[in-house]
Symmetry: C2
Subunit: 334 residues, 2 copies
């Protein structure tokens, strides 16, 4: 199985991913082998709110890279219903244009329940796609929550997609995306307010740069001015996230977006930051894995002793079981 | 401390929350005491994408409940930078109107890093506010990711806030919000496209209801029609989420929204579903707690043996450490 996946065998890779999802014994060992001898993929994250057109952009980026002769893997992460366990794939259908292209492998992920396995599952798929020898891996996530920030941690570069007309654009910043964005795409740029959105983003970036120039993480306003003017962030290997206007449905701005990402990739290589990103990626991979394993182990043990989780929850609800004691006790075994 | 919080002492509650954040010994024991003898709060979640105006709606709902003589607690959850650990509070400032009102207690939460403590921290604050005797607790979360779904699990009722002009509204549904919504608010309803948004949401709800009527979770299309017509979902205690148009900044539709939530609350009581919600809340509380404890324990143990997490990540990045082995070993101790 390891060798077949490594040779790029699509059926073997698909089978492995299913086996990992279903927790089939042995699939973990295969994944581990693949992880320990990685490929060369560049992992690009795309994140942003629902309705921003991330799937359309992903679709266009696939076409762009295919045209350049690169093989592409895609992980589309769909937060899903906590009740039905099913994902509504909707516009994923569009991507089926690429379904017959052997150079493209697309995997949609849905969580089953909300026990926190989403980032681990994403990390697994990225590992498999990388081992298959894909040149580029696109990881598309919905939203701006904590989970998405974690998934973004699996990428070398992150494109944050926003759209005009979301009202106060500072809102998007508030959600912490500024810190994870390497490139901004303002999609649906033919809509009213696109220039305003670009301007707002630029203002936030300017503010951040001037703060960084004046002394990094020093947020004490009294001392802010003391280091003014000395450093030029550009000289110090500073990356200024470009803002690219796109209209994915009309294939407008997609080349510019891909080129902006390419410049970031070159920046990572030139400054040695790529290595730091690899460490950050390893950290994200490990934490996702650890959390998943711990929860699986703890819940299995709990089921043995306390019965089904739902029964335990009922006892906690009427205060005849103490969740703090139980959690402490289980964690205490470490 | 337990008694002071229970008596509604604001300073004691604020101190306890800070102590919990900082992991001060003894604060957990206090929290546990509070949890085991709960108050009577009704917990209302508000969730939706950035820019939907959740903070403004929260602000108006506070005013509504205060006018009705109810005390209010607020937890505003801000996903934050994974790099700086700081939250940009932005429009939280607006809520400071209530800062001098002793009947209102507002707590903004930011994660420090992305180790998954957000839902646990939220759960802690809800427990404290409930113990203080608050009548209503509003939990405001940004986004539609997995984490937010989990936080929504801490609420009795959930309002999903959307806005017109987000393009294809089916996008919002895709992200799994349909399943967690008890009430929909279409905010900024003076914008173009508000009626379209309402119609789209209504269509999704109709589709869901007809599917449920025809046999619940049976998604096999061949068998779908066999149970048609027999059940009326309304008779069987079915809750049809109302859709309320609001303009929070002008205080339009806020009373209607609050009344829709009140009807849902009455529905929960009448059908006995409130008890089920309490069990679901207990489940969410426990899982958040368990995950947090497990990760804390595992990372502490890891630090002892393997050094700092960042050094370990560097070794994983160059494949001289095996994350699968490490995670399995740590989880295996359970």
């Amino acid at each position: 199985m390891v060798e077949r996946v490594r040779a790029g065998d699509v059926r073997a890779a698909a089978r492995l991913m299913r086996n990992l999802d279903d927790g089939i014994p042995g699939s973990r060992a295969v994944l581990r082998e693949l992880f320990l001898r990685p490929g060369h993929a560049f992992v690009l994250g795309l994140t942003g709110p629902p309705g921003a057109g991330k799937s359309s952009l992903t679709d266009r980026l696939i076409a762009y890279h295919r045209k350049a002769g690169r093989t592409v893997g895609v992980v589309a992460v769909d937060p899903t219903s906590p009740f039905t366990g099913g994902a509504i794939l909707g516009d994923r259908v569009r991507m089926q244009d690429h379904a017959l292209d052997p150079g493209v492998f697309i995997r949609s992920l849905a969580t089953r329940g909300n026990l926190g396995g989403l980032s681990r599952a994403t990390s697994d798929v990225v590992t498999v796609l990388d081992a298959m020898g894909k040149d580029v891996i696109l990881v598309e996530t919905v939203g701006v929550g904590q989970d998405e920030v974690e998934i973004a941690g699996l990428a070398h570069s992150v494109v944050v997609v926003s759209i005009p007309g979301m009202g106060d654009e500072v809102q998007a910043i508030k959600a912490g995306v500024l810190e994870i964005a390497d490139v901004f795409a303002v999609n649906k740029a033919d809509r009213e307010g696109a220039d305003r959105t670009v301007k707002d983003l630029q203002m936030m970036l300017d503010l951040r740069r001037s703060t960084a120039t004046r002394g990094g993480l020093d947020h004490d306003s009294e001392h802010r001015m003391t280091r003014t003017g000395a450093e030029d962030p550009h000289e110090a290997g500073w990356w200024e996230p470009p803002i690219v206007k796109t209209i994915a449905t009309q294939d407008v701005g997609v080349v510019e977006l891909a080129e902006a990402v390419e410049r970031h990739r070159a920046h990572l290589e030139r400054t040695g930051e790529r290595k730091l990103r690899e460490v950050a990626r390893a950290r994200a991979t490990f934490l996702a894995l650890l959390r998943d394993r711990l929860m699986q182990g703890a819940l299995a043990r709990l089921a043995e002793r306390e019965g089904h989780l739902d029964e335990l929850a009922a006892r906690i609800a009427d205060r005849s079981a103490d969740p703090y004691e139980l959690a402490d006790e289980l964690a205490g075994r470490l």
